[in-house]
Symmetry: C2
Subunit: 213 residues, 2 copies
């Protein structure tokens, strides 16, 4: 049993950890050795008590008057959010968004490595998008079972989402990062994490209508 399997981290805390990591990585780069919760809070414009409580979930311990050792804190955060481990992932649906994700260097830096992409468009077969080969969707199951892939990033059109999901699950995929605006039906053993860009747009438009606070 790993550290993260028995502890329960609040989702809002998890969502904030990457921004903390970004801040302290920059400080580390500048040669700083320690950082306080106040430092991070000021940099991000949030409350320092919240930061302190979030950091208490990590293995890192702080010293009064000094703060947290940056190397220790980086390790503690990366350990929780799994960015100290490498995973192989496939991407399904190499359209505009899918191609953009393939080319985003942030994923491999954080341990998520795309080893192949699949698409239904025959004209794309054999081409490479940011060093990742586009394979025929027909080879999906074969690739997953042979390479024991557990993670799939789903960027197919809405109408194909559930059907592709069924194939992914059947082939043994354990987690789907879903970028299509569809609720995917999967067995309870499969994790689905959905990103909905339109929620963000809705919040943005409401805030614009209200005017700045």
């Amino acid at each position: 049993m790993t550290d993260s399997s028995d502890k329960k981290y609040p989702v809002p805390t998890i969502r904030r950890l990457p921004s903390y990591l970004r801040v302290i990585k920059a400080l580390d780069f500048e040669g700083r050795e320690f950082v306080s919760a106040t430092d991070i809070a000021n940099e991000l414009g949030i409350d320092s008590i919240k930061v302190r409580k979030d950091l208490a979930y990590t293995e890192a311990t702080g010293k009064p008057r000094v703060g947290y050792r940056i190397t220790e804190l980086m390790h503690g955060i990366r350990s929780i959010i799994g960015w100290d481990r490498n995973s192989e992932a496939i991407l399904v649906g190499a359209g505009c968004l899918g191609s953009a994700l393939l080319g985003f260097p942030g994923f491999s830096k954080r341990g998520l490595n795309f080893v192949a992409a699949f698409d239904a468009d025959r004209e794309k077969y054999g081409t490479y998008v940011h060093e990742c080969e586009i394979k025929p969707i027909e080879e999906l199951e074969k690739f997953i079972t042979e390479r024991l892939i557990e993670i799939a990033v789903l960027t197919v059109p809405s109408f194909a989402a559930q059907q592709v999901t069924d194939r992914l699950v059947n082939a043994g995929i354990k987690g789907i990062w879903n970028f299509s605006p569809v609720r995917l039906k999967v067995p309870p053993s499969v994790v689905v994490q959905s990103e909905n860009l339109m929620s963000g747009l809705a919040v943005f438009m409401v805030r614009m209508a209200r005017g700045a606070e």
Copy 2:
């Protein structure tokens, strides 16, 4: 004063409204006239009481035993999240992600129309990405002031984000939809809505480590 300027909608509610709209649009397409909160809740796998309370924020009123008139509900939701109005927007940073956003048909369907994109790469000038012309970043201020653009979508690299933001604000931009992982400093009158993909990845990885619930 419009409807949305004096009412205060909870952010979680706003984030759910687009998914409700998607569900009832599909029902409308099938020819259905009424929908109940339970129908929507079942389709999305969430609690029906939550849906009912969210819908109470709209102008639509339901009839016991019948539900809400779909046309009325669509209008009510669109009105809150501003998808019944058209806005002109510019995109700054026509890289992978920026180009993907330019090509996404979902935005113009929801009233957000990209009228130009700007980039620092001279080789892109004059080219079109999904019917949107890429212009030199030097023309940014001129374009904003002449066309009275209020909305900018920011997809530039992190190191350029704040500098571009300052230029946008100076030129009169009222809202920035920010896709760079940077906290932007803006005057209080300017709305900044930030999307952080890495938060989603973090939550996904933690849930994977825990195994499915």
